[in-house]
Symmetry: C2
Subunit: 306 residues, 2 copies
C-alpha cells in the first residue's frame, strides 16, 4: 500500500472534523476559540531511540500523541488538534501501519483530539514520527518554567520511575508487569491537572528526561535552587536510596513537576491524579537532594542529556 | 555539539518572538489575530528522497520552509509561525548544522515568519526534516481544491518544469544553470498570489508532484474534468511536445494551479508573478491534454505518485 492509499484508507477516516477537510486540501483550516491564547508543541519519536522496534504499533501511536499532549498539559492548555509527520521504513509494513492507525484513532478519541493533517513519507532507513499538537489556554495564563519563587513547594504528580522499570521489562531485563510496561508504552498526559494548575502553580513542566535533570532545568529557568527530599518522591514500591536515585533519573515519566506557594493546599487539585510535595524552592542555583541521612551528592547523571 | 547545545547556540537565536519563549518552555504560546481562521500544514523532507545529500544545507532549510509556505499559499493564507522537527544523522555534522541554521534564519526573515519551537533528534540513520507552518485567512475564505466549476479557466503561476531541469543539473545530468538549479533547491512559495486569489479563484492547490497529476487531483476533488493545452503551459525555453510532457510531470514546481470564472481578468493579479491560462474546466472526470495536433494520449506517468 503506497503513501496515498495508506492516507486514504487508514488516516482519512480518522480525520473526521471539518478542519481536516478530509485530508484532501493542501492544509487544515480551523476557527480558534475566541479570546484564548494558542499553544503549540512538536515532538519527534524515532524508532530505536524513543521506542523499541518490538513495541506494539498501537502503543507507539499512543505514545506519539501522549508525549505531545504532555507538553500541552505542562502549559495548562486544553488540546484541540494535531498534525502528524510519519516517516516510515520497510519494517513498518501494511500490518504495522494498520495497527498504528487503529491505535492512533483510539488515542485521539480517548483524549478528544482531532487529526487535522500531516504528511507521510515511506522508504526511509528508520521510522521517524513527528507530531504537532495545538491547544488553547486563557490569555496570558499559560504556565511556564520560569516563575518558581523562593519558599514555594515543589510537587510532582503520580509516581516517578515507573516508566524506567517498564523499559527494563520491555527489554527483557526485568520481571514482566503489565502496569509498569504500560507506564513506559502508554504514558498518561496530565491534562486536567495542568489545566487546574493555571493560576495556582508558579512554574510547571513535564518530566520527560528524568525528575532530577528536569528539576535542574526548572530551577535554572526560574533562577532559583530546588531541594528535593529523595524519600518524599512518590514511587510504586519501597526502595533504597540508590534505587530511588535511579528512578529519579530514569525519565519517560510524563508526570508534571510544578511549584506553588507554600500555603496552598493542593491535595485535591489533581482529581484522580495524586500530587505529592517533594521539596522546596530555595535561593541558589540548580537541584540538590536529601536522603534519609541528610544531604546526598548528586549522581553523575541526572537524566537523559540529548 | 549535542542536541541541547545545538538548540541553544543555533536555533534559540532564531526564535526571537515572544511566542517562542526562547525555546525554553514545553510549548509555544501565541495570541492569534482576532477574527481569522487559522491554517495548518506539515510537510516532511527526507534526505535522498526530497533533496540530495549534496544540496547545500542552507538551501535545504529554505526548501523545508518554502514547501510548507507553498501549502499555505495554496489556501490563500498569510504565514505566521513554524515549528520544526529535525531528525539528524551523523552525516549532518556541526558544520552542516550551523549552515542549516544560518540558512533557516535567512529564510525565516525573507518570508517574515517566526520560529516558535520544535524538537531535534540526533543519531538517526538518515536525516528526516519536518516542519509545521501556521497561517491565517479571512474566516470562511480559505481556498480549496473542490470548487472548480465547468467553464472556469485553468491557470498556473510562473513556469512549469524548471525544478525538474534543476534536479537533473543537481544530479550532474544536465548543463549547469544556476537559475534552474535554484528553481529546484530554493522554490518560491506564491504567498502574495495565493492571498490575492481569495475571493476570486474557485479552486487552488500548489504543484508539488507534477502539473498533470496535481491537475488530475484538483479535477477529482471538484468532480469535474480539466483539459490542458500543452502548448499554453508556460516554460523557460521552447520545447517539443515530448519535452513539454516531461516538464508537466516533473514536479517540485511549487507554483499555484487554480481555476477562476472565464470572464475574470487575472493578468495582473499575481503582481510580479506571471499567471497563465493553460486550460478549461469541463464536464467529466480527470485531466486531458491537447497538443499542437489535437488531443494527446496521457503519459503513463502523470507525476510523482507517493
Amino acid at each position: 500500500m503506497g503513501e496515498r492509499d495508506f492516507i486514504a484508507a487508514r488516516l482519512a477516516p480518522l480525520a473526521t472534523t471539518a478542519a481536516a477537510r478530509g485530508l484532501s486540501d493542501d492544509a487544515a483550516v480551523w476557527s480558534p476559540p475566541l479570546g484564548r491564547d494558542l499553544v503549540f508543541t512538536h515532538d519527534v519519536l524515532a524508532c530505536g531511540v524513543h521506542y523499541l522496534p518490538s513495541d506494539p504499533p498501537s502503543d507507539i501511536a499512543w505514545k506519539l500523541l501522549a508525549v505531545n499532549l504532555s507538553d500541552l498539559a505542562a502549559m495548562g492548555a486544553r488540546p484541540s488538534g494535531v498534525l502528524m509527520g510519519l516517516g516510515l521504513s520497510i519494517a513498518e509494513d501494511d500490518i504495522w501501519r494498520a495497527a498504528f492507525a487503529d491505535g492512533l484513532g483510539r488515542a485521539l478519541r480517548h483524549f478528544g483530539v482531532a487529526l487535522w493533517g500531516g504528511d507521510t513519507v515511506t522508504g526511509l532507513a528508520q521510522a521517524v514520527l513527528g507530531l504537532t499538537a495545538i491547544g488553547h489556554v486563557a490569555p496570558g495564563k499559560a504556565l511556564s518554567r520560569n516563575g518558581a519563587q523562593v519558599g514555594d513547594g515543589v510537587w510532582v504528580s503520580g509516581t516517578i520511575g515507573d516508566a524506567g522499570l517498564g523499559l527494563a521489562i520491555a527489554r527483557g531485563k526485568a520481571t514482566p508487569d503489565q502496569r509498569l510496561l504500560n507506564r513506559f508504552r502508554r504514558p498518561q498526559p496530565r491534562l486536567l491537572l495542568g489545566q487546574a494548575l493555571v493560576g495556582t502553580a508558579t512554574a510547571c513542566m513535564d518530566i520527560s528526561d528524568g525528575l532530577l535533570i528536569d528539576a535542574d532545568r526548572l530551577a535554572q529557568a526560574s533562577g532559583v535552587g530546588i531541594e528535593i527530599d529523595l524519600m518524599a518522591i512518590p514511587a510504586t514500591a519501597a526502595a533504597s536510596d540508590a534505587e530511588r536515585l535511579v528512578r529519579a533519573t530514569a525519565g519517560d515519566d510524563y508526570e508534571l513537576l510544578f511549584t506553588a506557594p507554600p500555603g496552598v493546599d493542593l491535595a485535591a487539585i489533581g482529581g484522580n491524579t495524586p500530587v505529592t510535595r517533594i521539596g522546596t524552592v530555595q535561593a541558589g542555583a540548580g537541584v540538590q537532594i536529601r536522603g534519609e541521612q541528610g544531604a546526598l551528592p548528586l549522581p553523575e547523571r541526572l537524566g537523559w542529556e540529548h
